[in-house]
Amino acid sequence: MEPKAEVPYGTLELLILRTLETMGSVHGFGLARRIEQTSGSLMHLNQGSIYPALLRLQQKDWIKTEWGASENGRKAKFYSLTPKGRKQLKVEVENWERATALVARFFQAES
């Protein structure tokens, strides 16, 4: 089997924010599965690792939680973006793009 990439350092939060933007309100498992699906199996994600990241985002007030019913009808925690988180996502995306562009420029210069 081809070795999968680990989640690049510091990008998990960005991936979560972006995923929440598209999905609206979602529970932890759904979020983890969606990230895996989007990455097209190129990336290895420890599903558990999203929880500390979710807590971090929550503490920054970028996402909020509410109780809802999951597909199997049980009580589950649903995560969604706050307006502040929505704004922050734009900033984070811009930062990311700037950073990758910078790195890309170095690679072009080298080759």
Binding site: H27, F29, A32, S49, P52, R74
Partner: protein, 885 residues
């Protein structure tokens, strides 16, 4: 981080249960959903569960990370550390209890002494910012008078020079209060109205004096100190506004001072003074304002930004300027006159200052010993826990983790020690207050307050740091590999620790030796002082003071008439052999020394003139106290104002100023010229060597009359009965006359040593505690050493070593440790004892026998402490010992 996040973090330890459950539920839900999905994809339930867990990753690791984000890791670690500490200490209750008890003793003693020193020397209660106060004094250095009260003129000069922001004057007087069941003597201080501002003294009820109360003649107003209000007036809530009779004159009570002010600052000043009962307004008449009426205690408050250095130079400048003023200035200059200021705290500490500082230093040494002991015990425990430490290291415990635990345990022990120490301090303070002689603490209560609490905390921290420092350094120094390897007994870390512990014990012995030498030197001084013959026979002598009010006894004639009647009646007391009146009493408060001249001898410039103490006495004074007449005659009833002025001198004066001639018949000049008619034996005055070698001039009380003095009655039998008989004798002549301060002559002599005795007893206790702790430390090290060397000792014995040899070997080792400490401590004690010099009497700072005795005591105790483990070594069964793993 947002406020919310912080709130979550802070509240985390409290809500830990619920959010852990929350997280657990989240995880469970996640896994359930994943399992269902896997089953839909066609896995078996068990496969589905495994796959879900795999995809989830390490749940515990994640939880740990989550917890770190959620709570405050340091706090939680700390709490965990404490839990571990409690568990680990409760597994070694002996160690924990011993450590806590030792620390409690040392910390408690430190806190108590600190509180006493603080109250006595640095922060006299009831006075605002005492460190910004100065007492104004004058001196005549050429006349050997080094610290005198000042005159109104001096005060005006200082006031005019604007050296202080404000100055107040005070003068103490005593009154007889009639109104209770018997006439009572109350001690009072008269003060100018600024006194209250300068010292920052406030009333609890009523008011203090103001400028208008200072008119002439002085207004009959009085303030009560809290103690007098309680004692004399039974805490009467309506006391303010009442009128009381003092010396048969009415005075109105205008206020009651706060309880913390004891007003012990008398004319001589300082701790050990009798506490004051009353404060009255001081009005100074014109005829009292002369240059030479040096009778006022002056206290000044420093202006903001002023320092004592600047005050000192300002006073010097002022003195120099006053030397230039006319003929009077020249005389002042010739006599070495000058004004100077003493920081209030130095002044008020009085004679107790040095002893208190000695005690403070000693108790600090005890704390050091206790900390060293705890460090030794901790090292011992580290050795005993070698395997535990090794396992913890192997399991990934970093050295930092181990250190952290070391610190936590030590901090917990210190905290417990400090708390128990507060109890010890409380007992200590109450005991000291109860048993300390009155003239040592002068009615002062030693506070049990937040400052003492703060000091206790500080002492606890110092103890924790000191006792952890060496074990921690050792732990850092030890290689982790050596920790692991350390299954065997020969590991270097253990040896290193034993070496460190031996070193610590040597240090303890050294400190104990210093304390023992100090206590020994002071004890020898005390016994020297007590064995000095006082020059009089105190047996069967009762003494009491009286003061005749001016209103009743208008002139010398009336006073003398009273005295003659009193003596005549006192001699009719059953058993009385003789009676006399004198001022001052031997071993009682009195005048400072005075200068005199000898007729026919020129005054030599720049030479101090002859000095003597003066005592006014009635004829039977010498007989009552058994002071021998050496030459000439004593006074008779015929030596009165109508006969030629006569004087008696003592042996000391005769030897010093008439070394080769007979002083009898010589003339001396004081205020008048008198003829020396006799020479009597010398009496010592106080316990200081300096004043006891000053001679005495005796003057007939009937020639030079004072309206106050002390009645001396020599009668065998019960002292209390005699005292009552004396009181009724006085009241038979004058029912309003108080007789106070009744003491036997022996009690007066003892009282002069009480401060020293008190210091010696406390220092002796500290020395005993320190010896005990050092012995405990030595015992611990030797006992451990024997355990470590069990195998070696077994082999030696198997190879034919005698038990006596083994005993000698172990004892020798203990002796080496103790000897190192004794030598080290000897040098330190030699150096420290030199600073005790002025507290010593009849003994040199380097007193060979004291040093030797201290060394012998410590050696004996050390050998005793070593003997128990050494004996254990000799009782080892060689076979068992060799087999021992």
């Amino acid at each position: 981080m947002t406020v919310k996040a912080w709130f979550q973090r802070l509240s985390a330890p409290l809500q830990k249960k619920t959010w852990e459950q929350d997280l657990q539920e989240d995880i469970q839900e996640h896994l359930d959903l994943a399992i269902e999905e896997n089953i839909r994809r066609g896995m078996s339930p068990s496969e589905a569960a495994v796959a879900a867990r795999q995809a989830f990753g390490g749940a515990e690791q994640m939880k740990e990370e989550y917890r770190d984000r959620r709570g405050i890791p340091a706090l939680e670690t700390f709490l965990r550390e404490i839990r571990i500490g409690v568990r680990s200490l409760s597994r070694a209750p002996g160690f924990a209890l011993l450590s806590i008890a030792t620390l409690a003793l040392a910390i408690g003693a430190n806190s108590a002494i600190f509180s006493a020193v603080n109250a006595l020397l640095f922060r006299p209660p009831g006075i605002a910012e005492p460190d910004r106060l100065a007492v104004l004094r004058s001196q005549y250095s050429k006349l050997n008078l080094h610290s005198l009260v000042i005159s109104y003129d001096d005060y005006q000069q200082v006031e005019a020079a604007k050296i202080f922001s404000s100055i107040a004057l005070a003068k103490s007087t005593d009154f007889t209060y009639t109104g209770g069941s018997v006439p009572q003597r109350l001690s009072a201080i008269r003060v100018t109205w600024r006194w209250f501002d300068v010292l920052g003294i406030y009333p609890q009820q009523g008011r203090v004096f103001n400028k208008d109360d200072e008119g002439l003649p002085s207004k009959p107003l009085a303030l009560l100190t809290h103690a007098a209000w309680q004692r004399v007036f039974g805490g009467d809530p309506g006391a303010v506004g009442k009128t009381i009779l003092l010396d048969q004159r009415p005075y109105k009570i205008v206020g009651i001072l706060k309880p913390d002010y004891v007003g012990a600052l008398g004319e001589m000043g300082g701790v050990g003074e009798q506490p004051r009962d009353l404060v009255l307004p001081l009005t100074i008449r014109d005829d009292e304002r002369t240059r030479y009426n040096e009778s006022y205690l002056a206290v000044g408050r420093l202006a903001p930004g002023m320092s004592f250095e600047r005050i000192a130079s300002a006073m010097q400048t002022l003195t120099a300027r006053l030397h230039m003023v006319g003929r009077r200035g020249a005389i002042l200059k010739e006599n070495g006159w000058g004004l100077f200021a003493v920081p209030y705290n130095d002044f008020a500490g009085g004679e107790m200052k040095t002893p208190m500082l000695i005690l403070w230093g000693s108790v600090g040494l005890v704390l050091l010993i206790a900390a060293a002991n705890l460090a030794g015990l901790t090292l011992a425990r580290m050795s005993a826990r070698t395997r535990e430490l090794a396992v913890r290291t192997a399991l990934g415990g970093t050295r930092w983790h181990l250190l952290r635990q070391l610190f936590t345990e030590s901090a917990m022990l210190s905290l417990a020690g400090s708390i128990a120490g507060l109890g010890v301090a409380y007992l200590f303070i109450r005991t000291v207050e109860r048993y300390a002689p009155e003239n040592v603490i002068g009615g002062l209560r030693i506070p049990y307050d937040w400052q003492m609490l703060a000091f206790t905390a500080l002492a606890g921290i110092v103890a924790a740091v000191l006792s952890t420092w060496i074990p921690a350094a050792q732990l850092i120094g030890a290689h982790s590999s050596s920790l692991l390897k350390e299954g065997g007994r020969s590991a270097t870390a253990t040896r290193e620790r034993l070496r460190l512990r031996s070193f610590l014990v040597s240090a303890e012995v050294a400190l104990a030796l210093i304390l023992t030498v100090g206590a020994g030197l002071l004890l020898r001084s005390l016994s020297h002082l007590e064995s000095v013959h006082p020059g009089l026979r105190p047996d069967n002598v009762m003494t009491a003071s009286l003061a005749l009010p001016e209103a009743r006894y208008k002139d010398a004639e009336h006073v003398v008439e009273f005295y003659r009647q009193l003596i005549a009646r006192a001699k009719t007391i059953p058993g009385a052999t003789s009676a006399a009146i004198s001022y001052p009493l031997p071993f009682g408060p009195g005048f400072e020394g005075r200068a005199f001249q000898i007729a026919g001898r020129p005054i030599v410039a720049n030479q101090p003139s002859p000095q003597a103490n003066i005592r006014l006495v009635t004829p039977e004074f010498f007989a009552s106290l058994g002071i021998p007449l050496l030459r000439g005659r004593t006074f008779t009833e015929q030596d009165t104002v109508n006969s030629p002025a006569v004087t008696i001198i003592d042996q000391t004066l005769a030897d010093r100023y008439w070394p080769n001639e007979d002083p009898v018949g010589q003339k001396m000049i004081r205020t008048n010229t008198s003829v020396v008619i006799g020479v009597v034996g010398h009496t010592t005055q106080t316990d200081t060597a300096a004043s006891s070698d000053r001679g005495y001039i005796y003057v007939p009380l009937y020639q030079d009359t004072l309206a106050f003095g002390s009645l001396i009655v020599n009668a065998p039998g019960d002292a209390a009965t005699l005292a009552r008989a004396m009181q009724s004798t006085v009241n038979a002549i004058d029912p309003t006359q108080a007789l106070y301060d009744m003491k036997t002559m022996q009690q007066r002599i003892d009282a002069t040593f009480s401060a020293r005795r008190f210091t010696v007893v406390l220092l002796g206790c500290f020395a005993a505690v320190s010896i005990f702790l050092a012995a405990l430390g030595l015992y611990g090290v030797m006992n451990y050493g024997v355990t470590q060397r069990t195998q070696e000792i077994g082999i030696r014995m198997a190879l034919g070593a005698h038990r006596a040899q083994v005993l000698g070997m172990i004892l020798g080792q203990g002796f080496k440790i103790a000897a190192a400490g004794i030598v080290l401590g000897g040098f330190a004690a030699y150096w420290i004892a030199a600073s005790l010099q002025d507290q010593l009497f009849g003994v040199q700072a380097f007193d060979v026998s004291t040093f030797a005795a201290a060394a012998i005591v410590l050696t004996a105790v050390a050998l005793l402490a070593t003997f128990i483990p050494a004996r254990r070594a000799t009782l080892l069964d060689p076979v068992e010992a060799c087999r021992c793993d």
